[in-house]
Amino acid sequence: MKKAIYTLLFPLAAYLLLIIQADYLHAVAENDLFVSGQAFFAETIQTTGGIWTWLGCYLTQFFHYPWLGALLIVLIWTGTYFLLVDAFKLKGHLRLFAWIPVFTLLVSIVDIGYWLYYMKMPGYWFSQSLSFFAATLLTWLIARLVRLKAETNFSWIIFIIAYFAMCQRFPDFTHRNYSNHLLQLPFVIAPLSVVLLPVWKYIFSHIKADKLITSSAWRDGIINLAFLLIISSAAYLCSFRDANFHSEIRMQAAIENCDWEEVLTEAKAAKSPTNLMVVFKNIALMNTDRLPEMLKTNNSGCLPENGDSLVVRIAQIAGPLVYYHFGQINYAYRWAMENNVLFRPQVRNIKMLVRCAIMNQEFDLAAKYLTILSHTSFNTSWIREHEPMLRFADELHKSEEYRCIAPLMNEDFNALDSDNGLPEQWILSHYADLVHTQNPKQDHLAICAALWIKDEYAFCYQFYNYQKNNPGKAVPELYQQAAIMLGTREDSPINVQDFPFDQLIMARYERFNNDYAALNQSGASHQDIGERMRDFYGDTYWWYYYFSEFKAY
C-alpha cells in the first residue's frame, strides 16, 4: 500500500507542476496543429521520426483542456516508469532512479518559454515522451521475451538500440543566429539516466546501501519524500516562470475571446509589462472607448525576459493578432502565413487566416481554412461560431470582432509598405500619420498613436484633426496634457491661448516642471528623477514623454 502511495506521489507532483501552468498548456495546443486525414499524415511522416511527430501532434491537441493533456502525458510517463522498473528489475529505492528520465521529460516541456513560438518541431510536447516510452516498451518486451536475468543487466544495451531505432528527431532550439543548447539537455539526460540504471544497481548491491535504508519504514518514507521534493523542486526551478510570459499568453487568449476586461485586469496586475502587454492593454482600452486613458496604467513596455539566447519579436509571438485588432487585415494575414511557414503549422494561425479571409470577404479562402480546421479535434465551437459569417453578412456584422475592427478598416485607402518585422512600430507610425481619419475610433487611435511613439508633429496634426472632427466635445485629459506641454514650446503650431484647457491640468504641469527643476538642481540623475516623480506624475503624458523609452521589438 505504502509502495503504491509513494509511486503515485511522483505522477501527482508532475501533474501539479504541469497544471499550475494551464495557460501555457492551452497555448501549446493553440500553437500546434493536427489535421486528421491522409494528406497531413503523408506530409508529417516524411521527416525523420515522422510517426512520433504525427502522434505527438495528435496528442498535443488534448492540451486544449490542460487537465486532460496533462493527464495523458503523466500516464505515458507513469507507464514509462513501470516499464523501466520491470525491464531493469529495479527493487527498493532503486526504483526512484526510474523517475529521473521522467522528470527530465517533464522539464523539457516546462522550460522552453518563448521557444513555444519559435520551435520548428510540431508535436514536440508529446513526441519525445512517446518515442521514449516506445523505446522503453521495446526494451521491456525484449527483456521479457528473452527472460533476461536481473544480474545480466543487458537491458541498457537493448534500450540504447531501441532508443535509436525509434528514429526520433533530436529537438533543435535554433532560430537564425540564436540557439539554446541547454534546452537539449533533457534529451541527453533522459536516455543517459536509463543507461546508468545498471550502474546504480551495481553500486547499491556493492555497498548494500539498499538493505540498510529499507530496514526502517520511516526512513523509507523520508527518502521517498526527499527524493520527490528534490526532483520536483528541480523541475520547478527549471521551468520558465516569467510572469510576463504567462500574462501575455492569458492576454492573447482573452483578446481572441474579445474579453477586454480580462485583458485590462491582467494589465493592472503587471508590475513591469512587456511592450506586447502594453499593446494588448491598449487594444482593450481602444475597444472599450477608453484609449485616452492609456497612461493611467503602465504604458512603458519592456523587452521580454529572454534568459536564453532567443531574441523575441512581437511579429512572431502575436503579430497577426495585433495587426488584426488594429484593422490591418492584410498584414495580419501575412504574418499568420509567414509564422506558419517559418516555424510550424499552428491552430491559432489557421484561425487567424480564417478571420482575415472573412474580414477581406474572401469566403472561398475562409471555407478552405475552415475545412482544415474542421479536421482538428477541439475547435468545433469556434467553427460553429465563424462558419455562418461566410454565408450571412448579419452574422459577421453582429460579431464583437467586427464591431471592434470594422471602424479601423479604411476601405478607400490602400498603401504599399513594409513593416521590417516590427508590427508595433509600423502600426503606430501608420496611424499617427493617417491623414484622413473617418470616425471617432480612428481619431482617437491616430492621436494616441502619435503620443505613444512621441511623434510631436504627428500629434499636432492629429490634435487639430481631432478638434475639427469633434467640435464641442470635451478634450480628453491626455490630449490636453500633451497639447499644453508641446504648446508651450517656441516653435509649436499649437497656441495654448487658443484652447480652453483645464486650469487644473495647466497648474499640474507647472508643478511638474517645478518639481523636475528642483530634483534636477539637487543633482539627481535623470533615471532617479523619473522614479521619484512616478508616484505623482506617472499617469501623465509629461512623465511618459520624459522618462519612458519607446523601443519596438
Partner: protein, 521 residues
C-alpha cells in the same frame, strides 16, 4: 516510404471506392449539372492524362458516376462523395474515346433520395500532352521560404518526385530560396535553376552534369534571374533584376513585387561568359523568350523615368507602382556573331494602359501568349490578371477565351506540340496558385481549362502550397536531388563579363552594384 504509404492507402481506397457500383433504379432528375470538384465538366483532355478523379459537393452521402464511351459501353465508379477511377479502366476509356468524347452522368444520394444530374462530357483530344511537367511548390508566404521544392509530375499518372528540395542544403542560418527552373527545348539533359542566399548560385545542368555558376559580375546589376534557353545553342538569355517586395495595406492583391532596375544578358555556357543584350537605364527589360527557331528574342520592357533624387529607386518605385507598364519587344539574333539586332516593338501595352508580361511563343511560331494586368510585372498577385493571345500573323491581340477567371491567371507555357497550354490560376480561392491545362486547337481557339488531376479530389483543399513556374518536359529529370545538393555545397564557378557591342544599351561599363533580393511568389 511516402510511395509505399501511397500505394497502401491507394490499394485500400481502390478496394473501397473503385468497385463498379450500380446505378440507382429510382431517382429524381435535377435540371442542372452536378457541382463537382475539381471542375471537369465539358473539358477537353489529352488521351494520356491521369484519371480525372472528382468529388461531388453538397450534402452527398453516396454517389455514382456513369461513364458512357463512344462505343456505348458504360462503366461506373463512385463511393461516398467521391468518384475515384481505376487507373487501368481509365486508360482503356481514354483509348476508346480518343478523338471523341465520354458522357458522364452523376447520381447522388442526398437525404436518402437519389438524384440524377444533367450529364456532361469529357472530350478526349487526339493530341497527347507532354508526359512530364515540373513546378515549384511554395507556401504562399511573403518573405519566409522554408520547404521549397522543385518537383516533377508524371501527367499520365500521379507520380510526383522532387527534382530539388531546398531543405537538403538549407540551415537555420543560411536558408536558401530556389526558383526559375528551365529546360532547353523541353528536354531535361540541359536544365537550370537558381539558388539564392545560402549556397547561392545558378545550378546549371548540361548533359546531366550539374555545375554551380555565379552569374553575377561587376558589370551586371545581379545574377541571372528569368531564364530563356536558346532552343538549340548552348546559350541562355537572362534578365538581371533588382527586385523587391512590398505589401498592400488594403488591396486584395496583398503583395507587389517590383523591379527597380532590370536588364537583359546573354550567357554563353561553353565559354562561361556573360554579355549585355539590353541595358537601357530608363527601361526595365525582363522576361526573355526565344522563338522556337532561335532567330528572335522576345522580351518585355517598361519605360520608367525616375524623378525623385531624394528617394532610393525602390522607394520611388513603391510610390509609383501603378505607373509601371511593360510592353513587348523583340530583337533578331545572329547566332554566329552572338549579337542582337535593333529593338522592334511588338505590342505597346502601355498605350492601352495595361502591362504585358511573360511573352511565350507557340512551338509553330504563330502565336504569342502573354499575361496582362493593369500594371506591374508579377501578375500572379494581381487578381485581374488574364492570359491574352496575339496572332503574330495579324499582330492582333485578344483575351484568351475559356481559360480566364475573375482571379489571377499567370505563368503559362506551351506543350511541345503546341496543342496544350499550362498556366497557374488562383481561381479556386484567390490565394493558392493551382495548375490548369487548356486545349488549344488548330484554329487557335482555347477550350475550357481543367485542373491538374490528383489521386484524392480533396487534395487541393488540404494542400497549403502554391504551384508556380509550370514547365512541360518530354522526359523526367534524371540528375538526382542528391547530386544537385552535392554540387550546391561547392563553390560556384564565376562567369566572366564580356564587353560586347550592342545595338542599344550598355557596352559593358561598370555600373552600380547591389545585391538583388530574392522573389517569392
Amino acid at each position: 516510404m511516402k510511395k509505399i504509404l501511397y500505394i497502401v492507402i491507394y490499394a485500400m481506397t481502390v478496394v473501397a471506392c473503385t468497385h463498379h457500383p450500380d446505378v440507382p433504379q429510382n431517382y429524381s432528375s435535377v435540371n442542372s449539372q452536378p457541382d463537382i470538384y475539381p471542375d471537369y465538366k465539358d473539358v477537353v483532355i489529352p488521351p494520356n492524362i491521369a484519371p480525372l478523379n472528382f468529388g461531388v459537393r453538397g450534402n452527398v452521402s453516396d454517389c455514382v458516376a456513369r461513364f458512357t464511351l463512344p462505343n456505348n459501353q458504360t462503366i461506373t465508379f463512385g463511393s461516398d462523395n467521391k468518384v475515384l477511377i481505376d487507373d487501368n479502366d481509365w486508360k482503356e476509356m481514354l483509348a476508346a474515346a480518343k478523338g471523341s468524347s465520354i458522357k458522364v452522368e452523376v447520381f447522388t444520394n442526398e437525404d436518402n433520395q437519389w438524384k440524377a444530374y444533367q450529364s456532361f462530357t469529357i472530350q478526349v483530344a487526339n493530341e497527347e500532352i507532354d508526359p512530364y511537367i515540373s513546378y515549384r511548390l511554395i507556401f504562399p508566404s511573403y518573405v519566409a521560404y522554408e520547404m521549397l521544392c522543385i518537383s516533377q509530375r508524371n501527367l499520365t499518372n500521379f507520380d510526383e518526385k522532387d527534382i530539388f528540395n531546398n531543405m537538403m542544403v538549407s540551415g537555420e542560418k543560411d536558408g536558401q530560396c530556389i526558383n526559375c527552373h528551365s529546360y532547353q527545348n523541353y528536354g531535361t539533359k540541359n536544365m537550370q535553376f537558381h539558388m539564392r542566399q545560402g549556397h547561392g548560385g545558378t545550378m546549371l545542368v548540361v548533359n546531366d552534369k550539374p555545375q554551380k555558376i555565379d552569374l553575377k559580375t561587376d558589370s551586371t546589376i545581379s545574377a541571372g534571374v528569368y531564364p530563356a534557353w536558346h532552343p538549340t545553342l548552348p546559350l541562355i538569355a537572362y534578365s538581371t533584376n533588382h527586385t523587391g517586395q512590398s505589401f498592400h495595406t488594403r488591396s486584395k492583391a496583398k503583395i507587389e513585387v517590383q523591379d527597380s532596375e532590370s536588364d537583359l544578358i546573354l550567357y554563353d555556357i561553353e565559354k562561361n561568359e556573360v554579355r549585355y543584350i539590353s541595358g537601357k537605364a530608363d527601361e526595365l527589360e525582363c522576361f526573355p523568350c526565344w522563338t522556337p527557331d532561335g532567330k528572335y528574342l522576345y522580351y518585355c520592357s517598361a519605360h520608367f523615368d525616375y524623378r525623385n533624387d531624394s528617394l532610393p529607386k525602390s522607394g520611388e518605385m513603391i510610390m509609383r507602382y501603378e505607373e509601371v507598364r511593360y510592353d513587348i519587344y523583340r530583337k533578331s539574333f545572329d547566332a554566329k556573331k552572338l549579337s542582337f539586332g535593333p529593338t522592334e516593338l511588338v505590342y505597346k501595352a502601355s498605350d492601352d494602359s495595361i502591362s504585358a508580361t511573360f511573352p511565350r511563343i507557340s512551338p509553330d511560331g504563330r502565336y504569342l501568349l502573354t499575361g496582362i494586368a493593369p500594371y506591374g510585372c508579377f501578375h500572379v498577385w494581381h487578381p485581374t490578371a488574364d492570359l491574352y493571345l496575339m496572332d503574330l500573323k495579324t499582330n492582333k491581340l485578344r483575351k484568351l477565351e475559356n481559360v480566364n477567371s475573375p482571379n489571377a491567371e499567370s505563368y503559362h507555357s506551351w506543350s511541345s506540340n503546341g496543342r496544350w497550354i499550362v498556366f497557374i490560376s488562383r481561381r479556386d480561392d484567390n490565394n493558392f496558385s493551382r495548375l490548369y491545362f487548356a486545349y488549344f486547337d488548330k484554329e487557335g481557339k482555347a477550350h475550357k481549362a481543367f485542373e491538374l488531376p490528383q489521386r484524392d479530389p480533396d487534395f487541393y483543399t488540404y494542400f497549403m502550397r502554391s504551384y508556380n513556374v509550370p514547365e512541360f518536359m518530354k522526359e523526367p529529370v534524371t540528375v538526382t536531388p542528391q547530386e544537385l545538393a552535392s554540387e550546391a555545397f561547392r563553390d560556384a564557378k564565376k562567369a566572366t563579363f564580356v564587353s560586347a557591342p550592342n545595338a542599344d544599351g550598355r557596352s559593358g561599363a561598370s555600373i552600380k552594384v547591389t545585391e538583388a533580393e530574392h522573389v517569392v511568389n
